[in-house]
Symmetry: C2
Subunit: 378 residues, 2 copies
């Protein structure tokens, strides 16, 4: 389904790489670099309004502007290809999986927005269908609406509105392109967590993932093609592969808001999405991140690693492997951060610490080292 020349199909049983799954980051990156440079050059426009950007937010997960009494944070995020799994599972099971897909889409935006210390306030829906008839499946449309509302309620945001275009000829027939934009504020301004405060000795707290979330789905879909029972392959008693893939992404804003109420200000946050644990290297400074304890790996990610014959390096460098979100806090706040997260309904653990030293991520239980060149986002 990828539009570039298809890679040679992997032989059954052969390892499956992310390249084979059809996403070629090298082809996107030159445009990304050009866009980032052009975008950075527009920051001066804010001066005419008496405002300024928070420059450290360039290259971070949400863009931040100083509007005086507080900071304004905004973002737009795409679901990606997870909806294709929902479509196939609806065909196989006869019911809609779009309530979870709605939560996934909002999670992509909310979980990025909160990394900078923002309280999300408004979500806008972008639902671009391949044709008007997408909306005639009343159950599917209803679950999308209900799931979207439920996720907004969980995050304490207002669903402001959105767009529901029918884009025949642009969006593929029978498909939907889902995205969410989110606007929030950082208030008080001391909640800003762009990383200035990160210091050696800080603890790394990892919030639990529910499954694959919405990153790595191209690989997961490619793998489904190789399984004799496809998405219906049981990966645990009573749990099919497709169902496990569709576990909705947790919404982490209840945790970050609870931390604020508890008086804990993270020194930095990283949403673990594409590039897996390499996202722990996101902070622009030079630190060594030492991981001593690993979270439990969701069954679906264990299954993918095993079936795709991925090395630990590939798996942890691509997938979340049980860590959905990283919060870097003062060591003295570490255990309380875990407790606050648990009370907000999200399992967490103190996984390691920040140290002075070369920029690298050491995952000690697995003997893995990711160097400073493992993540190029800026």
């Amino acid at each position: 389904m990828d539009s570039r020349p298809s890679p040679a199909p992997a032989a059954p049983g052969a390892p499956l790489s992310y390249e084979q799954s059809g996403v070629v980051y090298e082809l996107i990156d030159p445009l990304k670099v050009a866009a980032q440079r052009a975008a950075a050059a527009t920051a001066v426009n804010l001066a005419a309004h008496g405002f300024s950007e928070v420059k450290a937010s360039r290259g971070e997960s949400a863009y931040v502007v100083d509007v005086g009494p507080f900071y304004l944070a905004s973002i737009v995020e795409c679901l990606g290809s997870k909806a294709l799994v929902a479509d196939e599972m609806q065909r196989l099971t006869g019911h809609s999986w779009y309530a979870g897909i709605a939560q996934d889409t909002i999670a992509m935006a909310i979980n990025d927005l909160v990394t900078v210390g923002a309280t999300p306030l408004v979500v806008q829906a972008y639902w671009a269908a391949g044709g008007s008839e997408w909306f005639t499946d009343a159950e599917r449309a209803g679950t999308l609406v209900a799931g979207w509302k439920a996720a907004c309620d969980t995050c304490g945001v207002a669903w402001g509105g959105g767009e529901t275009p029918a884009l025949a000829g642009i969006v593929a027939e029978g498909r939907i392109d889902l995205a969410a934009s989110c606007t929030g504020i950082v208030s008080p301004k001391t909640r800003l967590s762009l990383g200035d405060a990160l210091v050696p000795g800080d603890a790394i707290v990892l919030l639990a993932a529910s499954g694959i979330h919405a990153n790595g789905l191209s690989l997961a879909r490619k793998l489904a093609e190789r399984l004799p029972q496809g998405y219906l392959t049981p990966i645990a008693p009573g749990l099919a592969y497709g169902e496990a893939l569709l576990a909705p992404t947790p919404l982490y804003s209840p945790v970050t808001e609870a931390l604020a109420r508890a008086g804990i200000t993270p020194h930095y946050c990283a949403n673990i999405t594409g590039h897996g644990w390499r996202k722990l290297l996101r902070h622009p400074g030079s630190f060594t991140y030492r991981i001593e304890r690993l979270p439990e790996v969701p069954a679906v990610l264990q299954f993918i690693q095993q079936q795709a014959q991925m090395s630990d390096e590939d798996a942890y460098g691509t997938l979340n492997m049980g860590a959905g979100f990283a919060i870097f806090v003062a060591a003295a706040d570490a255990e309380r951060t875990v407790e606050v997260a648990r009370q907000a309904g999200v399992a967490a653990l103190v996984a390691g610490r920040v140290e002075a030293g070369a920029k690298q991520l050491l995952i000690e239980p697995l003997g893995l080292v990711f160097g400073s060149d493992a993540l190029q986002l800026r």
Copy 2:
């Protein structure tokens, strides 16, 4: 290319309706209604943060939240199918038309956001391609980036960032799904223009359109199929149909910002997009809108009306027919509003006035009447 069963092809020379062009609003609307209801029910979530929505913004072109010192406005908007015209014209002419397409996309968001009185501050880009290779056409990608930046500069907004996913299987091969989200503030709060101030006697000022903008493109593309020379059909000396269609949508925020600096607060604004002049009925109140003077109709819209054999009622009820944006101001401010717009580079005219009476739009020079049932947005 539409995914529902194709309508019977219109005989050459037969009138062409919007239904035949493949967009069936009736199929989308039940979902829209359900989504609007669910969205409205999330407003209460803002109370936990000490904020509240501005309820009158529900059903308007941008969503507004009262965050204390000012109002926050946000929106996400889709370009629609205009990129398909750019793709075909690139094939025919050998060069990229994406600089204008970028401006169109931003205009869709900015021109909606400013209707509520907001100053746009941040734009986020949503560029979802059918595959990684979309981005390898360096000229096309470069014009998209350059056009996006230029539009941000014109509007005085910061380009915050965005998403450039490759969505093979969801976005059609070789295509791109373009959208923009925009966040702004209404400051001072007295700039809020949700319509409370609209009264009989107010003037209706229309800002000039540059062409078809980004609404009515399904019809325009269908028409191209019927023309022997297609998009290369000359519609005026040296002007091909496709080129005329691709005239970028004006950015109206320089006008609304200039009005604010001039001390003119619109009583209401309507961005003339889908539903053409019926959008003049957007205000929820009961007023009669009497139009006595018409703006010049861009050549491309004259051509479409003629070739598609559209009645004036169809043309003015579907297309902008030269009016890109309506500003309702106190009669005493009308001429000055026109002058401020002209100084900001946008032609304008005082086209008519608001009167007490049944909700209807009277376009006197054409003898047209659109009643209260002509526009159903809420």
